[in-house]
């Protein structure tokens, strides 16, 4: 009986809003082009930095690993917003992703182009964004995705039903204990109320050992080596698949090179493949190779973030609700405008990261280290966002429509 590591990496960068003031509202529509160099809202600066620290060196290593180990495979999701930024500011990085995918051992997943939570606000808009993403992936990588991953791995029965009806063969979610109960995430499941689709659940313990704890010297398992990690998997009892789901930027950006993350990546496949029967599979392969062992019922939305594993980091406070509610309220007028630039700006404003920056729960706890934002505080994020909201509104009004 073989056991597979299912390595799935998520590549994403939002179009961050610059420090856009009320005095820009109604005057300028350049929300996303912070000019001040080195500012964290400067998208060009960030994408170049992340490309240099993470995308370029990691892709190089992944390609090398593919050459060395014929069994090594992985799955990627890559948002439209990061692809656009790579096209604009780091074309050589985009080429390196294409080269990686061209190995034939990388499967790309479906998602919303703009990394949004549109599913919860407008099914029509959500489907449009999934469609745009699919076309972009086909155009750039020549693949049509058939496994779905949702923004922030937000997941519930409704989404599974939708993805099943839409013809996806699989969908990803967090392997969260209240959902799984006594069951293990290391098998293939099927969502309740669905006909064909399969559910792959992130093993958050081992995934987070790499993504979050790897460089933490306070962690009792520090330093983590590929040898030790492989030993854990090999001795973890019954399992068919170990779902390692994480941000791509774990390699080189969240965990810096000097913490040894690249050495870990370099040696993991070799260590894992030393044991007979161990292999790597993409998300589709694991679905094709293993039958589901049970059905999983998820009536309430779960995500892969936070101790709460819910949407509260994005939609938990009234600032976030007002902002996102305001943006979706304008859907009909925006789409009726036929103004492609306006529609694109509006979609970029739906990116979930904007709402994450408005999260106050860590800010209030004083635990701002857990908080990752280009703004000084959630209120600044909210003010810049709302000033843009008003500008979008004035653009609609200029077209003779009421909002």
């Amino acid at each position: 009986m073989s056991k597979a590591i299912v390595l799935y990496l998520h590549v994403h960068q939002p179009f961050r809003i610059r420090h856009y003031s009320i005095f820009d509202t109604g005057v300028r529509h350049d929300y996303f082009n912070e000019q001040t160099p080195e500012l964290l809202t400067n998208n060009e600066f960030i994408i170049k930095k992340v490309a240099e620290k993470s995308y370029i060196p990691t892709n190089k290593r992944l390609i090398k690993l593919m050459k060395k180990h014929p069994e090594f495979k992985l799955s990627l999701s890559i948002t439209g917003t990061v692809l656009e930024q790579l096209e604009q500011w780091a074309p050589e990085t985009l080429e390196s992703f294409k080269k990686l995918v061209a190995t034939g051992r990388v499967e790309i997943l479906a998602e919303t182009y703009h990394h949004t939570l549109a599913f919860f606000y407008s099914r029509k808009e959500f489907e449009a964004q999934v469609g745009i993403h699919q076309r972009k992936i086909e155009e750039l990588f020549g693949q049509t995705p058939n496994v779905f991953r949702h923004t922030e791995l937000a997941y519930n029965n409704d989404l599974a039903y939708w993805a099943d009806q839409a013809g996806y063969k699989g969908i990803l979610a967090e392997g969260w204990d209240p959902v799984l109960g006594w069951r293990s995430p290391n098998f293939v499941y099927q969502p309740t109320y669905t006909e064909n689709i399969r559910l792959l659940l992130k093993n958050y313990r081992i995934s987070d050992d790499i993504a979050f704890r790897f460089g933490d010297r306070e962690w009792s398992e520090w330093p983590l080596t590929a040898d030790k990690f492989t030993h854990w998997l090999n001795s973890s009892g019954d399992a068919t698949n170990f779902n390692l789901f994480m941000d791509y930027e774990t390699f080189g950006e969240h965990q810096w090179e000097d913490k040894g993350i690249f050495e870990f990546l370099d040696s993991l496949p070799g260590e894992w493949l030393k044991t007979k029967g161990n292999t790597f599979m993409t998300v589709s392969e694991v679905i094709d190779n293993f039958e589901p062992v049970d059905r999983v019922d998820v009536p309430n939305t779960i995500t892969w973030a936070d101790t709460e594993r819910d949407l509260s980091a994005w939609l938990g406070n009234r600032l976030q609700q007002e902002a996102i509610g305001g943006i979706y309220e304008m859907e009909d007028q925006i789409l009726a405008s036929n103004d492609l630039q306006l529609i694109d700006d509006w979609r970029r404003l739906q990116t979930s990261d904007h709402f994450y920056y408005m999260c106050t729960k860590w800010f209030n706890d004083g635990d701002i280290h857990a908080y990752f934002s280009p703004y000084d505080n959630p209120y600044e994020a909210f003010i810049a966002y709302m000033n843009v909201y008003h500008d979008i509104r004035s653009r609609i009004i200029e077209k003779g429509m009421e909002v």
Partner: protein, 402 residues
């Protein structure tokens, strides 16, 4: 007549209205031949030629940065807690005191005139070492600054002791005089009301493009803009304004509230607007200066000062000067001065809603209020205030046999 004026701030290094009031009063006094030595706790360029401005730096102390403890920061005043530059609030006062005492022992003055609590201890020390008469000018007391609460007992102690020991007290309004009597039991006949004023200017309206392009466009489309400009602190009563805003917006959805300023309630008010579900109609600008600050008044269909306790409150007069009608809290000194204004108790949200809704739905009411207030504004000068202050000086000089 040589006056030793003790202040804590002057424009452009001011944190609020105190610096402006001191500047304009001194300017007017100088026109009447009063020779003023103005002592500040910091060193900075002011470009003032009608009086001598000097920093209070005692011998052996290096340069002091502008804006250490602000006059409005009385709630953090402490005997030991270090503020910026490692100095506690009290230490800053002690440095100031020391420098002022050095000054009066080396130069001759006729009278000492001190503005607000941070300089009062220094005035007392001067009286102690030199016997000069001291006039204490109250622009606000601790209860005002703490939004009607008891406030910092250390600051209250400074206020009570110095007002008691002073030769004369100037209050910026009857509202403030009443408060001084009530809070500190100072005899009424020792307190003179001298209302602040404004150096009115003729401002041409609409001569240049307003910085708020969006608000200008929205007004053209029938929206009305209600503006407040203040520090965002409990004293200013802005949470009541937001509660009123909610009800106004329910009745008149085309109303936008523009909240200008920053302060310790900034985040709290942003959250409150969101909680009330009116965030899309409430715009927070943060702290503004210059043209953007002026344009806040110029874009206004109604300016509101909903203060819980406002000893004077000059900002509504600025608003009137830039062409906005005003709604002011009855708990303010300005309510004693400006007749053509809407007035409301700070706690009376219902009435506030009524009056705001009235103005934003009726341009005739707005224009009538605006034009009449503007006529009043144009007649205002600092002259009566300066005259009153000079006669107070003279009473004490005569009393001393000078």
């Amino acid at each position: 007549m040589k006056v030793l004026m003790l202040g804590w701030e002057l424009p452009p290094h001011n944190s609020g209205g105190l610096g402006v009031a001191c500047y304009q009063l001194c300017h007017e006094l100088s026109k009447h031949g009063v020779d003023i030595e103005f002592v500040l706790p910091y060193e900075a360029e002011h470009n003032i030629n009608f009086m001598n401005v000097r920093p209070a730096i005692p011998q052996g102390i290096g340069r002091l940065r502008a804006q250490l403890l602000g006059v409005y920061d009385s709630y953090v005043y402490d005997k030991s807690r270090p503020l910026m530059d490692g100095l506690s609030g009290e230490a800053q006062q002690v440095i100031y005191e020391k420098a002022v005492v050095e000054l009066v022992t080396s130069e001759a003055f006729d009278i000492v005139h001190a503005h607000d609590w941070l300089t009062f201890r220094a005035a007392l020390r001067v009286k102690e070492v030199s016997g000069l008469p001291i006039v204490l000018h109250v622009h606000s007391i601790e209860r005002d600054r703490s939004g009607g609460n008891f406030g910092n007992p250390l600051v209250r102690e400074i206020e009570e002791t110095s007002l008691m020991l002073s030769d004369h007290v100037i209050a910026v309004s009857q509202f403030t005089k009443d408060a001084i009597i009530r809070e500190y039991g100072i005899p009424a006949n020792k307190i003179e009301v001298v209302h602040n004023s404004i150096e009115s200017k003729n401002i041409s309206i609409g001569d240049e493009q307003n910085s708020y392009a969006y608000l200008t466009a929205m007004r053209a489309r029938g929206y009305r803009v209600v503006v407040s400009v203040s520090r965002l602190t409990i004293q200013k009563g802005l949470s009541n304004l937001l509660r009123a805003a909610k009800e106004v917006i329910e009745r008149v959805p085309k109303t936008i509230f523009l909240i200008v300023g920053s302060g310790d309630q900034y985040f709290e008010l942003i959250e409150l607007a969101a909680q009330l579900g009116i965030a899309k109609n409430v715009i927070f600008t943060g702290f503004l200066r210059g043209k953007q600050w002026r344009d806040s008044f110029r874009t206004s269909d109604l300016f509101i000062m909903p203060s819980v306790s406002e000893p004077f409150g000059i900002v509504p007069l600025e608003a009137v000067g830039y062409g906005s009608p005003v709604l002011i809290s009855k708990q303010s000194g300005i309510a004693e001065v400006l007749n053509n204004s809407l007035k409301v108790d700070f706690w009376d949200i219902k009435k506030m809603v009524d009056q705001i809704a009235g103005v934003v739905q009726n341009d005739a009411l707005r224009d009538e209020l605006r034009d009449n207030a503007y006529s009043e504004y144009q007649k205002l000068t600092w002259r009566p205030a300066a005259k009153k202050v000079m006669s107070i000086y003279e009473d004490h000089l005569v009393g001393q046999g000078v």
